[in-house]
């Protein structure tokens, strides 16, 4: 008797999870209905294209006319595609040019603004954030004018103190660094706000205690603040990594990917294949390989940075 009761009692328990999910959905049908514009739009404009391009990546298609199935041809072609792989290398170089500097600057600025000694904290925060909401096309064109080798304001100012003209956009490395400057200008404020948000979760007593114990301000920064900010810094780094490889507007406007394709990013290469060469199948295959690479990179970053005790 007792045995059967136990079984009978345990049965509903195992079945419960399945039913509750559906029940929960039915129970919350009105809230789901009211947020449905999001997932309907998401399905049409994000999910469908993502799935359709899996299919496209095995085909040749100009955007018009028949879709020709070609199997793995696109994937085998792309391993020899020097433009795409060079663009990945460009992404790596750009990453090292500006991401460490930007992250450090963002953290330092955040710490400075977070200390209670800075007056007009909100004003500074806004000023540093404003470039991020400035239209990138306008900003890019302005930077291009400022960086003109012959008539740009930067070189005119440098000339006044006797520095010869810098070929900001006329040389492979200079162009990459110039692009890095534009990106730092545009994205520093955004990273700083993330850091500020993180800092505000750290109790001030910890730094205070370190200072009282005799640590200098820089020691307190590196040995107290930075370790506590680990997760936040990681978050900013991960977003910066993905952002670097998918840069589009900034290089398009500032350098159009030149000189010698040195500032062509993977997204620009993919965009060019799709919308300038009309090779939608091939561009889809590139997108998926690109996605896989970024995904693995991000996992590695999370893995390396996410360890509790390192």
């Amino acid at each position: 008797m007792t045995g059967t009761t136990t079984i009978a009692q345990s049965l509903p328990v195992t079945e419960k999870p399945r039913r509750t999910l559906w029940r929960e959905i039915v129970k919350s049908r009105w809230p789901y209905f009211f947020i449905s514009p999001f997932y309907i739009l998401f399905a049409i404009f994000s999910l469908y294209p993502v799935l359709f391009s899996i299919y496209l990546s095995f085909t040749e298609w100009k955007g018009l006319g028949p879709i020709k199935f070609v199997g793995l041809k696109n994937y085998s072609l792309l391993f020899k595609d020097s433009v795409f792989w060079d663009s990945m290398v460009n992404g790596v170089m750009l990453f090292f040019i500006y991401v460490p500097l930007q992250t450090l600057l963002a953290l330092v600025l955040a710490v400075v603004l977070n200390s209670k000694r800075v007056r007009g904290f909100q004003l500074f925060r806004t000023l540093i954030f404003i470039p991020n909401i400035t239209n990138m096309v306008a900003a890019g064109i302005t930077f291009r004018l400022l960086m003109n080798q012959e008539n740009g304001l930067f070189n005119i100012l440098l000339g006044m103190v006797g520095i010869p003209p810098v070929p900001w956009l006329e040389n492979v490395w200079a162009a990459r660094i110039s692009l890095g400057l534009l990106i730092i200008w545009a994205w520093l404020g955004w990273n700083m706000v993330i850091m500020l948000a993180g800092l505000q979760t750290i109790p001030g007593e910890l730094t205070e205690a370190a200072l009282i114990d005799g640590a200098s301000h820089s020691q307190a920064f590196f040995f107290v603040t930075v370790p506590l900010m680990r997760q936040v810094i990681l978050f900013a780094l991960v977003l910066s990594t993905m952002g670097t490889f998918s840069l589009f507007t900034e290089p398009l406007v500032l350098t159009n990917g030149g000189p010698m394709r040195a500032t062509t990013t993977p997204i620009m290469a993919i965009f060019g294949q799709a919308f300038s060469n009309f090779r939608f199948g091939y561009a889809s295959a590139l997108s998926y390989v690109y996605f896989a690479i970024i995904f693995v990179l991000t996992l590695i970053q999370v893995r390396l940075g996410g360890r509790r005790e390192a």
Binding site: G63, G243, S246, L247, F248, P259, M260, T298
Partner: protein
């Protein structure tokens, strides 16, 4: 490998992939400034009697074009003339830069909606759109005009024996030169003497060396790090070379192409070239300045109107037009650069009116010559050349009879395989090669080999 232990980890991986996907999504593309302008009002004047009894087309047509071309059609009154003959057609222009048309038109063609009734397209991009599809087959309509137009103009707009374009202007290439610079260098500055002084690229280089020694002026602008490949393409075109052979084989790294690039490289080596990037302020200043301008520029007939109207209006009377240099003595001194025409998308609801417009603008002697007189867009219509306009002196060019020069040049333009269906992509590869060669990173041979490999593996 990463092992996923819990549901929570799975969820975070999923969220991560959504973020990555979102980051892969399209970034904001530059906004396009659209300027619409209804040009024609319905003219009430009585139309000229027509021989045909078929009803005349009517309704509104939308025309996409860039500013310079639109002005050239509208300002000399060609649209007004058109409306005198077709009073029931309203022409609405939408102004886009060429680059914006090449983004928007293919999207509209592939989407099946949103295309205009008529679009201006440069010859360089025409073949790609013809290859893409979605354009109206105009074979029957253009048939009477095929023999009346520069024959090379039909090539880019043709596929499988069918015609998809209405050719408008040609780009016969000449050498524009500054008379004041030649004078300052104590060289004769009349067109015939200058033509002789630049008879070959070698002689051109010697002449420019003399000019640089005596005046400090550079020969021409040709940017190294952001070279656009146009001058190189003209030098290929005059030899009947190109990016691919008749059978479609890629010839980007052929010995002749390499030799051509090396020839242009001699000007960089001799330090005779201004390093201004094309279509930037510094480049305009090279032409417009009165102090040490560049001595010359090899470019097509349409460059004349740009000098006159906005690049260098202050230099009127100081310019002359000579023939372009030949690669070797006695070889062809003619090439084409640019040129444009119209296409009619298949989705147009008013093809009759669209064709009427294209035909009236391009295939009528009067329209073509009005536009040529206004804006130096050289007519591809050969029947237009028989007109007093062509022997009129042009005061901007020091009273030289320049239009006759273009007519002589256009007849000599050889067939070259440059503006093919993959032109935009090939130009990008070749420009990169020229940049690597010009900045000393690679030899001409290696750079063009790399470009050719890229193009070959990219199809």
């Amino acid at each position: 490998m990463f092992r996923i232990h819990t549901l929570r980890q799975l969820t975070s991986v999923l969220i991560l992939s959504v973020i990555v996907l979102a980051a892969c999504g399209p970034a904001a593309t530059p906004q396009v400034i659209v300027q619409t302008q209804v040009v024609s009002q319905v003219v009430t004047a009585t139309p000229e009697p027509e021989a045909t009894t078929a009803p005349k087309p009517s309704g509104k047509i939308t025309v996409w074009c860039w500013k310079a071309a639109q002005d050239t059609i509208v300002n000399p009154g060609v649209v007004a003339d058109f409306n005198a003959e077709y009073p029931d057609i309203q022409v609405e222009f939408v102004t886009y830069n060429p680059g914006d048309i090449y983004q928007k038109l293919p999207l509209a063609l592939t989407a099946g909606t949103g295309a205009p009734d008529v679009s201006c397209v440069e010859d360089s991009h025409l073949a790609q759109f013809v290859d893409l599809g979605g354009l109206t087959d105009l074979s029957d309509r253009v048939q009477p005009y095929v023999d009346q137009m520069n024959s090379y103009k039909w090539i880019a707009g043709q596929k499988d024996g069918k015609y998809y374009s209405v050719p408008w202007d040609s780009g016969p290439v000449v050498t524009y030169y500054r008379r004041d610079v030649f004078k300052a260098a104590e060289l004769p500055d009349d067109p015939d003497s200058v033509s002789a002084a630049v008879a070959t690229w070698d002689k051109y280089l010697e002449t420019c060396q003399t000019i640089k020694e005596k005046t400090g002026s550079n020969c021409f602008p040709n940017n190294k790090a952001n070279n656009d490949g146009r001058l190189y393409e003209m030098a290929l075109w005059q030899q009947g070379l190109g990016y691919y052979a008749d059978n479609g084989d890629i010839t980007v790294d052929s010995p002749e192409n390499v030799a051509t690039l090396q020839k242009l490289g001699e000007f960089w080596e001799a330090d005779l070239v201004s390093d201004q990037q094309s279509w930037t302020d510094g480049w305009y200043a090279d032409f417009s300045t009165l102090e040490k301008p560049v001595a010359s520029f090899v470019e097509a007939a349409w460059m004349g109107v740009f000098y006159k109207t906005w690049i260098a209006p202050g230099t009127a009377g100081k310019w002359g037009v000579a023939l372009m240099p030949a690669m070797k003595d006695g070889q062809v001194r003619a090439a084409n650069d640019g040129g444009s025409g119209f296409v009619i998308p298949d989705q147009s609801q008013n093809k009759e009116a669209a064709w009427a417009f294209g035909e009236f603008v391009s295939m009528r002697k009067n329209s073509q010559n009005k536009m040529f007189a206004y804006g130096d867009f050289f007519p591809a219509l050969e029947t237009a050349y028989d007109d007093p306009l062509y022997i009129e002196p042009d005061s901007f060019f020091g009273g030289q009879v320049t239009r006759k020069v273009y007519v002589d040049v256009v007849k000599e333009i050889p067939t070259a395989h440059i503006y093919g269906p993959r032109y935009a992509d090939m130009n990008k590869f070749v420009s990169t090669a020229i940049q690597k060669f010009a900045t000393g990173e690679m030899s001409a041979e290696d750079a063009l080999k790399e470009a050719a490999d890229g193009i070959r593996s990219n199809q």
